[in-house]
Amino acid sequence: MSLLAVEDLTVTYPGGRRPAVKGVSLEIESGRTLAVVGESGSGKTTLALALAGLLDRRARRHASRLEINGEDLLAAGRRRWRQLRRTDISFIFQSPINSWNPTRTMIAQVRDAMSAAGHAGRMPELMDLLARVGFEDPERRLADLPHQLSGGMLQRVSIAVAVIIEPALLIADEPTSALDSTVQSEILAILGELRSEADLAMLIISHDLSVVARVADDVMVLYGGKVVEQGARAAVLGSAVHPYTRGLLDSVPRLDGDRKILLPSMEPGHLPASGCPFAPRCRLVVDDCRRVEPDLIPINDTLAACPPAASSALITT
């Protein structure tokens, strides 16, 4: 049974021209990692927040199913969500420096978090975990204020605090994009290690395909609030069919690529009010795309929301 199961999740902000997240369905099993890929405006952060009950009060959420550990959470109140965040769901944010109160010492905030989760007595264990993830001399350094620690160190604390409560689900929203590339790979390695040890389900959100490549089992590509393609990591990264996914993959400069050639790049564009959100930028666009919102259909090894891609895939194979 899936640890997290979501069906047809839609989140709307009052006055938004289109929903921030529209009709997203996903499942994650324990011990597996789902990566959600998307650029700014894709609705990926909204999705993550919705799954932790952290949406803004003005946001409206609809879904036909929302279950964690088999528990139906469609009607869960704020109290229940808070309880869940103390025991079952952990969240890691993008900016390590912004996820801690700048005016209180780290140790005070870490203690707050531990006692909120009912683990006040496990501080020594947390220190051990911190030391294990490469945070030297945690007792002393945690007495500092957040701005006195580097981004990499702060993110290690965030991860340690998130993991020590032994959650069933770990949601990480761009956990490395504010960090330097060498630090980034260390953080990813730590996340991967802790995940497989604790056998928890992980949802990682990123705009960076190299991050996805490194940690994901399954990949889901979001554009304009809609899932445009999803599948196993190898399939999405290796043989994606949706023009947006392809475009993303192609437009990343690679170390082993050709030097000083033009990268295949996508047209700039906006989000249309109706039809396929990607239509204005798409090279496969046909009239239907502007009228009908395409559904996910199996094409080759993945599910993709692109009928024209399906027909061209048939032709090429």
Binding site: L54, Q83, R104, D112
Partner: protein, 365 residues
């Protein structure tokens, strides 16, 4: 590149020197206080010497002949060169001597000491009420931004700052003290005496001169009730006028903090709303509020004049007003100096609060 080609635009700010320490900062503060007071003294002194009215004439009284006036002038040292007078005044100040009042004919310091408790009582009580209520109301407004209370608070915040304080005082007097005589119209009429409460009538001893405090010391509930009734209208006048800014600033500052990512992150860690909103966000939001409250407390030292005049509150403000009315320039100078020093001191104290609210600030200004 030569110096000064461009405005100072780039690079981190030139650093604050290290190891200055508490003592050095304290010394700096004292020097600053002295400088400000000296400037204030000098300006008011210069002004007082171009007063169109002749102090000697006033001091001698209207019936005095020219010879008498001349003698008074000599007694007061007003015929000396201005610089001599200035130096004499400053040396007097250093010894704590503000000179004599023309009006009451006693040393000004005595008058001031007598009037001070009543003013301090008024200021402290009003300040505590509007600061506490304002922060509370502003915080509630920021946390629950919609609803009837939000509309109400907006009205208070906008109207409160627009309403002239003397007019509020008059209206309160007309509609709460005169028609239904729920409250005493004015504090007491047998001015000048120390204290704002008729201690004799209330049957308690006069210890500090501040009615409420004396009633507390005497443990007399009836006197406390009387003291509170006396205080009510003037305090309300000050609160109505000052609470608006506190509410508005607390609200915008807290709303800003509640939008920050760390608040969401704290919620994500399962912290209770109380911890997130009060321990984390509100504490951070108080920084600009404290700055403003410090300034307001400073202004109150001067602003209390109007309220004291309306309610005949026998404090330093009323004393200043009476001195001004009778061109008692020595008294006016003394009050200017004291109020300025008070303002600087209050703000120095406020400077000590910043590091408590935000430990990133080492060097408090």
């Amino acid at each position: 590149m030569t110096q000064g080609r461009y405005p100072e635009v780039t690079g981190p700010a030139p650093g604050l020197r290290f190891g200055a320490g508490r003592l050095a900062r304290f010394a700096k503060g004292v020097v600053w206080l002295l400088v400000v007071v000296l400037v204030a003294v000098s300006i008011t002194f210069a002004l007082s010497r171009i007063v169109p009215a002749d102090p000697a004439r006033l001091a001698a009284g209207l019936e005095a002949g020219p010879e008498q006036v001349e003698r008074v002038r000599q007694d007061m040292g007003l015929d000396d060169p201005v610089m001599v007078q200035y130096v004499r005044y400053i040396t007097g100040l250093v010894r704590g001597d503000f000179g004599d009042s023309i009006r009451t004919r006693g040393p000004i310091l005595d008058d001031v000491v007598e009037a001070l408790p009543a003013s301090i009582e008024l200021i402290v009580v009003s300040f505590t009420i509007f600061a506490a209520l304002g922060i509370l109301a502003g915080a509630a407004w920021a946390y629950w931004p919609r609803g009837v209370h939000a509309v109400l608070l907006r009205v208070v915040a906008v109207a409160g700052s627009a309403v002239p304080v003397f007019w509020v005082g008059l209206l309160l007097q007309i509609f709460l003290a005169a028609r239904p005589d729920w409250f005493p119209l004015v504090a007491r009429l047998d001015f000048p005496v120390a204290g704002n409460l008729n201690h004799e009538a209330a049957g308690i001893a006069e210890v500090t001169g501040a009615g409420l405090l004396d009633a507390l010391i005497a443990r007399s509930p009836s006197a406390m009730w009387e003291a509170a009734r006396v205080l009510f209208l003037p305090v309300m006048t000050i609160v109505i006028h000052n609470i608006a800014l506190t509410i508005a600033l607390t609200r915008s500052s807290l709303a800003d903090q509640l939008d920050r990512e760390y608040v969401r992150a704290a919620r994500a860690r399962g912290l209770s709303e109380w911890r997130v909103v009060v321990v984390d966000a509100l504490r951070n939001a108080l920084n600009p509020v404290v700055t403003m409250l410090g300034l307001q407390l400073g202004w109150l030292l001067g602003g209390v004049v109007i309220v004291e005049v309306i309610f005949s509150w026998p404090g330093i403000g009323l004393y200043a007003f009476s001195s001004f009315q009778s061109f008692d320039y020595n008294a006016i100078m003394a009050i200017t100096v004291l109020a300025t020093a008070g303002f600087v001191l209050v703000n120095a104290l406020v400077g000590q609060i910043y590091p408590l609210l935000d430990p990133r600030i080492k060097e408090a200004r």
